[in-house]
Assembly symmetry: C2
C-alpha cells in the first residue's frame, strides 16, 4: 500500500515536471481520484495543482478537489483566478462546497461565495444554516423532480439535459402541480417502462421521507431499513427541499458507529482520522473524561474510607476489592453496550422497555449464579495454592475482639463473601445498566455519552456497598464480630 502510493506519487509529479499532459490525463482516467489525492497529501506547491486543474478535464478535477486536505484546498482557492474558481464551483455539488467552506477562514469563504453562481450561492447559504448532524446539513439541493403528468419519454429527455447537474438520477421525485411530493421512480423502472406511460401511473407510492431537522442517525436507519438509494428531505410544510443519497449515508453510518464506540469507552467524539488529529485535541478528548471519572469516584473512595477499619481487621477484604469492582463494572458495561447499540440501531419500539427488563432479569440471574459458583471455586483454589496468603486471625482493631480460625475456615469465609457479593452485584448492576440508556433517551441525552461514565460510577458503589454490608451484617456477626464501623 505504502509503496504503491510512493510509485503513484512519483508518476504524477514526473508527469507534471515534464509537462506531459497526456500522461497526466491518463492517470486521472485510470486511477480513482481519492488515490491520486492521497498520494499527493504532503504536496503544498500551488503550481502542481494549478497544472493539474489546467490540464485535466473538469469531469475529474472537481471530485479530486473534494478529496484534498483543507490546507491544500485553501492553497488552491487562493492561487486560482476568479475565472478558474467559478469553473471549479460550477462543476461541484452544493454539499461538497459546504464541506469545504466549513474548514476555511472567513476571507476564503467570502471569496468563494462571491464567485458562486447566484443559484448555487443560495443553496450553499441554506445548507450552511442547518444544525450539524441534521438531515438538512447532509442533504444536497441538486435533485430531479418532475410533474406526475409527464410521460416516460419526456422524463428521459429531462434526465439527459438536466441530469448531469443532479447528485443522482437513479431516483426521480414526482410531484403534483402544487409541488407536493406524490411518489418516486427509480431510473431502472423508467427504462423498463413504456415510453408513453405517465409518471403518475408508474411511480412508487410506498416511499418514505424525512424532515430537515431529523437526526442523521435516524436517516441512516431508514436507509438501512428500506434499502433506499436516495430519500427526499421535506420541510415542516411537507414540501421537498433536498435529497440525501446513499453514498452520504455510508459515511454517516460509520461516523455514528465511531461516535458510539468513542463515548462507550470514555472518549469525546472522534471526528477526524487518528493520525490527522493534533496532539492537543487528543488530550482534550481523553483527559477530561479521566478527571470526571475520578471526581465521580468520590463515592467509592468515601465507602472504602469508611470501611478502613474492616479492612485493617481482615486484610483479605482489600485483596479482592478490585476483583469485585472489575467484575461488576464489566457486567454493567456489557449490558450498557448492548442496549446503547440496540437503541442506536433503532431496534426498540415504545413498550419494549419492559421486555428488556424481563430479559435482563433472567440473563442476570443466570450469569450471577454461574459467576458466584465459579468465583467460589476460584478463590478456594487461589487461597489453597498460595496465590493469596491466608492468615488465621480476624481481629476487630477498635474493640480488640478477635477470632482464631483454621485456614480452611478463612478460605470458606472469603470465598463465600466474594461469591455472594458478586451474585448481588451482577444482578443489580445489569438491571441498573439496562435502565440507564432508556432513561437517558427519555430525557433526550445521548445514551452513549451518559452511560459510559455513570454505569462505572454507580456499579462501583453497588459492588462496594454489597461487599462491606454483607461482611458487616452477615459474615462478621456469624463469627461473633459484630462491630465493624
Amino acid at each position: 500500500m505504502e509503496e504503491e502510493k510512493e510509485v503513484l506519487k512519483e508518476r504524477v509529479l514526473n508527469a507534471i515536471k515534464n509537462r506531459n499532459a497526456s500522461e497526466l490525463r491518463e492517470i486521472f482516467e485510470t486511477i480513482p481520484n481519492i488515490d491520486i489525492a492521497e498520494c499527493l497529501d504532503e504536496v503544498d506547491d500551488a503550481a502542481v495543482f494549478l497544472y493539474i486543474f489546467r490540464t485535466v478535464s473538469s469531469e475529474y478535477t472537481s471530485d479530486f478537489f473534494a478529496e484534498l486536505t483543507a490546507d491544500q484546498q485553501e492553497l488552491i482557492i487562493n492561487a486560482f483566478t476568479d475565472k478558474q474558481l467559478i469553473e471549479l464551483l460550477e462543476n461541484s455539488f452544493a454539499d461538497d462546497i459546504v464541506d469545504t467552506l466549513e474548514e476555511m477562514p472567513a476571507n476564503v469563504v467570502n471569496r468563494v461565495l462571491k464567485a458562486c453562481p447566484a443559484d448555487l450561492r443560495k443553496d450553499v447559504n441554506n445548507l450552511l444554516n442547518y444544525k450539524e448532524n441534521t438531515a438538512g446539513s447532509v442533504m444536497t439541493t441538486e435533485y430531479l423532480d418532475m410533474k406526475d403528468t409527464l410521460s416516460v419519454k419526456e422524463a428521459l429527455k429531462i434526465i439527459r439535459t438536466r441530469g448531469k447537474d443532479a447528485e443522482t438520477v437513479y431516483t426521480i421525485f414526482v410531484r403534483d402541480s402544487k409541488r407536493n411530493l406524490k411518489g418516486t421512480i427509480n431510473l431502472d423502472d423508467l427504462i423498463f417502462a413504456d415510453e408513453d406511460e405517465k409518471l403518475g401511473d408508474i411511480m412508487d407510492l410506498d416511499f418514505v421521507t424525512c424532515n430537515v431537522n431529523d437526526d442523521q442517525e435516524e436517516v441512516a436507519n431508514m436507509f438501512k431499513r428500506y434499502d433506499l438509494n436516495a430519500m427526499a428531505v421535506v420541510n415542516n410544510e411537507n414540501k421537498i427541499v433536498g435529497i440525501i443519497t446513499i453514498d452520504d449515508v455510508v459515511d454517516i453510518i460509520a461516523e455514528e458507529a465511531t461516535e458510539d464506540i468513542a463515548h462507550l469507552n470514555q472518549i469525546s467524539t472522534m471526528d477526524e482520522p487518528y493520525l490527522k488529529t493534533p496532539v492537543f485535541k487528543l488530550v482534550l478528548k481523553c483527559a477530561p473524561w479521566i478527571i470526571a471519572l475520578m471526581i465521580l469516584q468520590v463515592f467509592s473512595t468515601l465507602i472504602l474510607s469508611r470501611f478502613e477499619s474492616a479492612i485493617m481487621s481482615f486484610a483479605l477484604l482489600s485483596v479482592f476489592t478490585p476483583l469485585i469492582m472489575d467484575a461488576g463494572g464489566n457486567a454493567g458495561g456489557q449490558t450498557t453496550t448492548m442496549i446503547v447499540r440496540a437503541i442506536s440501531l433503532d431496534e426498540f419500539d415504545r413498550g419494549d422497555f419492559k421486555r428488556v427488563i424481563w430479559k435482563e432479569l433472567r440473563v442476570a440471574f443466570c450469569i450471577a449464579t454461574l459467576i458466584a459458583v465459579f468465583v467460589f471455586g476460584w478463590i478456594m483454589f487461589e487461597t489453597t495454592v498460595g496465590i493469596v496468603n491466608v492468615k488465621d486471625t480476624i481481629k476487630d482493631v477498635s474493640t480488640n475482639l478477635h477470632v482464631e480460625l483454621s485456614s480452611i475456615q478463612v478460605q470458606l469465609i472469603i470465598s463465600g463473601l466474594v461469591a455472594s457479593t458478586l451474585f448481588v452485584t451482577m444482578i443489580a448492576s445489569r438491571l441498573f445498566a439496562c435502565t440507564l440508556p432508556f432513561f437517558a433517551k427519555k430525557i433526550k441525552l445521548d445514551p452513549a455519552v451518559m452511560c459510559g461514565p455513570l454505569t462505572t460510577t454507580v456499579v462501583d458503589v453497588i459492588s462496594l456497598l454489597a461487599y462491606f454490608f454483607l461482611w458487616k451484617f452477615v459474615f462478621a456477626p456469624a463469627l461473633g464480630l459484630g462491630a465493624f464501623f
Copy 2:
C-alpha cells in the same frame, strides 16, 4: 410507532379476513414491505400468508418474503405447493435465498434447492460454499456484463430485456471477448451518451475490484473510499464471478461496527437484534468474558496479596487502589479504542506504527502531567474535607518500625504517591495499549477481540506495580520505613 404497527396489523388482517383483495393490494403498493412484515411478526397462521401470496403481485411478495422471520419463512415454504415455491424462487435473488436457507433445517433446504431453476441452483450452491464474512458470501451472481464492442443503443436494449433479473442495472460491467473485466459504466452515463458510441469508448477505466476471499470489512472500506454503487468480485484468475451492491454494504458497515463495539466492551459478537437473542445466548456472550477476566486478574491478586503488609501498615493505600486501577484502565481503554477503530476503518498504512507511537508518547506525556497535577490537588482536597480520614501513624507491622506524622504530612505523602503513580501509569498504559492492536493485526488476530481483555489485565498489573514499588522504594525509605515486603 407501536400504535401505528397495531393499526396496520389490524388493517392487513381485516383485509385478509374479509377476502378484500383490492384493499390488500393497495396496502402492499403504498406501504414499504418491511413495515408490513414487521406488523405481522407474531402471526404464525400459514393461511394468512398463502392468501397474501395468492393475491398480491410477485413484484411485492418476494421482497416481503425476505423480510419475514425464519420461522415464518419455514412455515410458508412447507405450506407452498411446488408450483408456488418455484414462482417465489424465480422472483428472488440468489443472495436472499442463501440468507433464508442458512436458517432452515436440512429437509427444507433440499426441497428449496430442488425447486430452484438449474441456473439459480448453481448460483445458490456456489454462494453457500463461501466462507462467512468474505466477499464471496455477500456477493450476488445476478449482474449485467456486456462486451466492450456493443453500442449504447444495444446496451440499453439488453438492460430493458435482461435488467429485471439483475440485482442492479446502475453499474454495467464491461468485458472483452476473453471475459476479462475491462471497465464499468454507470447507467446515467449510458443515458447521457450518444446512442451509437461503443461501450469500450465511454466506460470508466478507474474501477476497483475485490477478490472473493477478501474480508467483508475491507470491501466496505473500499465502497466508502471510492463512493461506489456496485463493485465486481473477481476470482483468483481475475475473472468476474459476482458483484456486491451498496445496499448490502450498508448492512456490513453497521454489522462490523457492532462487532467492534461488542468486542471492545467484552461481549462476543452480537449478530442478532438484542430482543431476538435468546436468554441462554446472551449468557454465553457475556459470562465467559467475565470469567476469563477474573482468571486473568490472578496477576493483580498476586500483587495485592504480596503487598498485604504494606496495606496493613498504611491503610490509605487500599483506599486509593481502585482509583489508580480505574484511571489506568480508562487511559489504556481510550487508546485501544481509538487505535482499534482506526484499524477497522483502514486508516493506517504500513510504517504508520512509528507515527502512532510518537503521537501517543506526546499525548500520554501531556495527559500524565495534567492528571498528576489534578489528582494531587484532588486528594489533598478529599483528605482535607474529611471524605477520606487521615491517621497520623504509619507503622510497619512486621518490624514494628513506625513514624508519627502530622495530618498535612500524611496528606502530602499519599497525594504525592498517587500522583506519581498515575504519571507513570498513564504513560506506560497508553504506550502498551497503542502497541497491542498492531501486534494483534500482525499475528492475524482480530484487534478488538484481543485488546479488550488484555489491555485491562496488563494495565492493572502496571498500575499496581507502579503504586507499590513507588511506595516501597521511594516513599517508605524517605520516611525511614524501608522493609515493606
